[in-house]
């Protein structure tokens, strides 16, 4: 029986990541034990994760009080920091898994790896304070998370690939408190029995709602109003024990003459309430992330595609609606209402969704979960780019997916595809030009160290391509991650590894060109077939 240590210190989202990770470990190594290291402030949430044998916590509040204290030496704060770590440093771990992108987690992962030479997953810090990724998937994970605003594959997919477990929809990551779940069930059952038999309970979580720029107060009011107008839907406000949340929820309730049903939930009772609701809607909050892994149908209200993709959906049973800031609240509320009905399987007319919103659903393939547009304003350009970048990552990691299954090429206009291919090619050409420049200056540096400055400038120019959002930028970011991981102590060895990485980048850019050409050929062929089919259909009545 081996031991695995999960480190999740960033926030409650890193705990949800830890919950998913634990599930993958259990699946692959059912007899092994899993322990978790987190902050004291997150302990209550951590206790809801299933499969964790022991939770160790670092008390940040106490450390910060000690640091500020007049009589304390920082050494006392170090004592507080070390005390939960000391017993962990004596254990021989099978692997240490860093579940977030924070520096403190990466540094602590390094403590274990350097001390015991154990395996690690995720990222750790190197000798020069550089970030080192455990494997290709960790590299993709931390690169996408750190450098790019937009994630083209979800962290759940990264987990699937890291642990070599198949994508699935299991919802037993969270430890449900039986007593609380049954109480929530009974309470909600009473509401169901007081309403028509086909009435569905829709949860509207208002956690940190005062900070939500997407699901604003006006939009919340309009949305709840539209739910109330539908006899088949019943809204339930979920609020926390936090004072600000309470005030916000009361203000919302006041708009409806205090007639709304409000549930005050904490981290222990939230999962119990979520599993008993028919659906949940809201902006980005931990309640939605939790509902996702519990399998409760959900509708996320996002401001843009980046925020939709950053949420790492794991279940199919959800929709994301992307709204624009300027759209009237009533229009958004109507779109949300149609989306809820679609989520609940009521088959509403999706073409009633306004052109200021875009509705996405999620599907699964061998690679993991992906977003797929079902209604709303035309997002062909984004959809194409998203699927191509995802396809490139699959190609890159040698786990190919059938791109034509994830995007409907018949509906992509040929000129959109041609324009995309041209833009991508131009970006690759520019990156290739800077790559050759960097290679030249590297060769010069090998002969004469005085050219090192010129080489660094060229390298910097090459890295800048990583700031864009295209396939070339992916190649450049992966290149950067490889460069960051170089740890050789001597100059010559470093230069050799740099050269190797540059040649690999060259190969990656060429592979990208090959992929773009394949897609173009495929689309051309499909377009030809579609035209032939259209001609056949036109001719059929005359035959």
């Amino acid at each position: 029986m081996k031991k695995h240590l999960l480190i999740a210190l960033e926030n409650s989202n890193s705990l949800l990541m830890a919950a998913k990770t634990a599930q993958h470990i259990i699946k692959k190594y059912p007899r092994d034990t899993i322990e978790l290291l987190t902050f004291e402030s997150l302990k209550k949430v951590a206790q809801t994760i299933n499969g964790i044998q022991q939770i160790h916590t670092i008390d940040c509040q106490k450390i910060n009080q000690t640091i500020d204290g007049q009589y304390y030496s920082d050494m006392h704060a170090l004592n507080t920091f070390i005390s939960p770590l000391s017993p962990l440093l004596e254990v021989s771990w099978e692997q240490v898994i860093n579940c977030d992108a924070s520096k403190v987690s990466a540094s602590l992962t390094s403590v274990f790896v350097t001390k015991d030479q154990c395996k690690f997953v995720g990222s750790r810090m190197g000798r020069k304070g550089n970030r080192i990724s455990a494997d290709l998937w960790s590299m993709i994970g931390s690169t996408l998370r750190d450098i790019m605003n937009c994630q083209y594959i979800s962290s759940t997919d990264i987990l699937h690939q890291s642990f070599r477990t198949t994508p699935s929809e299991e919802c037993n990551y969270i430890n449900l408190n039986e007593d609380l779940t049954s109480r929530a069930f009974q309470m909600l059952q009473k509401i169901r029995s007081a309403n028509p038999s086909n009435c569905r309970l829709i949860g509207v979580p208002l956690f940190n709602a005062h900070q939500d720029n997407t699901f604003t107060f006006e939009r919340v009011i309009e949305t709840i109003g539209s739910i109330l107008d539908d006899a088949e839907l019943f809204p339930i406000i979920l609020t926390s024990t936090n004072d600000r949340d309470r005030v916000f929820a009361r203000q919302v309730s006041k708009e409806f003459a205090n007639s709304l049903l409000m549930l005050e939930v904490d981290s222990k009772s939230l999962p119990a309430s979520l599993v008993n609701l028919d659906a949940i809607i809201g902006g980005t909050s931990h309640a939605l992330a939790l509902a996702d892994i519990l399998g409760t149908p959900l509708l996320r209200i996002c401001s843009d595609t980046s925020s939709m993709l950053n949420l790492s959906p794991s279940s199919n049973n959800q929709l994301s609606i992307i709204t624009s800031q300027s759209t009237a609240s009533a229009t958004i509320a109507s779109d949300i209402h149609t989306s809820i009905k679609h989520l609940l399987g009521d088959s509403p007319a999706l073409d009633s969704i306004s052109l200021s919103s875009a509705l996405y659903t999620f599907k699964k393939d061998d690679f993991g979960t992906y977003a797929y547009q079902v209604a709303g304003r035309d997002q062909q350009q984004f959809n194409l780019q998203y699927h191509m970048m995802r396809s490139f990552i699959s190609l890159y990691s040698n786990r190919p997916i059938a791109i034509e299954k994830s995007i409907d090429f018949a509906n992509v206009e040929l000129n959109v595809l041609t324009s995309w291919a041209q833009t991508e090619r131009n970006a690759i050409t520019l990156a290739s030009r800077d790559l050759l420049g960097t290679l030249r200056s590297l060769l010069r540096t090998q002969k004469d160290r005085r050219f090192i400055g010129e080489f660094i400038q060229s390298l910097d120019k090459l890295f800048k391509h990583g700031d864009e959002k295209n396939i070339a930028s992916l190649c450049c970011n992966f290149f950067r991650a490889r460069i960051d991981g170089i740890e050789e102590a001597n100059y010559e060895a470093n230069i050799q590894l740099m050269e190797k990485a540059l040649y690999q980048l060259k190969d990656d850019l060429q592979a990208a060109i090959g992929m773009i050409k394949n897609i173009e050929d495929f689309a051309q062929e499909q377009s030809k077939q579609t035209r032939v089919q259209a001609i056949h259909q036109r001719l059929r009545p005359t035959l």
Binding site: L9, E10, N11, S12, N13, S14, F39, S41, L42, V45, I58, C60, Q61, I63, N64, Q65, T66, I67, G69, Q70, Y71, Y72, S73, D74, M75, H76, A77, L78, N79, F81, I82, S83, L85, S86, L89, S102, K103, V104, S107, L108, S110, V111, F112, T114, K115, M125, G126, R127, K128, G129, F207, N208, S267, T284, S285, H286
Partner: protein
């Protein structure tokens, strides 16, 4: 630490209570230490009402402490707490030998060395919450210089002095690799080469202590 210059005698008051005398100074009333203790507590009634934790300079034979803790418990229940500082070890020994019944809510710290006093983490924890300080008049008069140093104490931060505070011996040993004149903050800021596990540990600690803002539940 035993003080060779001090001379402790134990005498009996007119009311029949034992009273310590150091260098001819009576630490309690020669007539009735209990009545004196009640008056001492009366004088600090408002502080007792507002605070569940008090620091008292001077142990004597504890008559004033018994009175104070009784009143604190009445107001604050079992969260009441008294931290006592007493420089005379002989006095503490004599007090314990005479086995006075004493509340567990009273903690006594005995040392004449101010640095030793501030090496004790629980004492620092007690004093850092800034509870009111009550000076037992006779004890304070006897050791005024010592007690005054407590308030003005400047905590050392250099590794050489503070490394011994660490409870984990492997970390304490590994910290020996750094310059002993520097402090943890400097090491965190200036150490760019992370060859050993201790370097990573300090980096992680620095992120939490000097930079990290606690993750919020979103």
């Amino acid at each position: 630490m035993k003080d060779s210059t001090s001379h402790l005698q134990i005498k009996t008051s007119k009311s029949g209570h034992l009273i310590p005398v150091i260098n001819q100074i009576f630490l309690h009333s020669e007539y009735d230490p209990i009545r004196e203790a009640k008056k001492f507590a009366d004088d600090h009634e408002s502080l007792i009402f507002k605070n569940s934790h008090l620091i008292v300079y001077g142990l004597g034979f504890g008559y004033h402490l018994v009175e104070l803790i009784d009143r604190l418990i009445k107001v604050h229940g079992m969260s009441a707490k008294i931290t006592v500082v007493e420089p005379y070890e002989d006095l503490v020994t004599a007090f314990q030998e005479n086995s006075f019944p004493f509340s567990k809510l009273i903690s006594i710290y005995c040392t004449k060395d101010i640095n030793q006093l501030f090496k004790q983490a629980d004492f620092i924890e007690a004093i850092s919450s800034k509870p009111p300080i009550l000076k037992h008049p006779q004890s304070y008069m006897l050791s005024k210089d010592f007690f005054d140093q407590i308030g003005n104490y400047q905590t050392p931060q250099d590794l050489k002095t503070t490394r011994i505070y660490l409870k984990d011996f492997s970390v304490r040993r590994e910290l020996g690799h750094y310059s002993q004149q520097s402090n943890l903050h400097q090491i965190f800021r200036e150490n760019n080469c992370h060859d050993k596990w201790i370097d990573h540990l300090i980096a992680a600690f620095g992120e939490v202590a000097y930079q990290h803002e606690q993750g919020e539940m979103n």
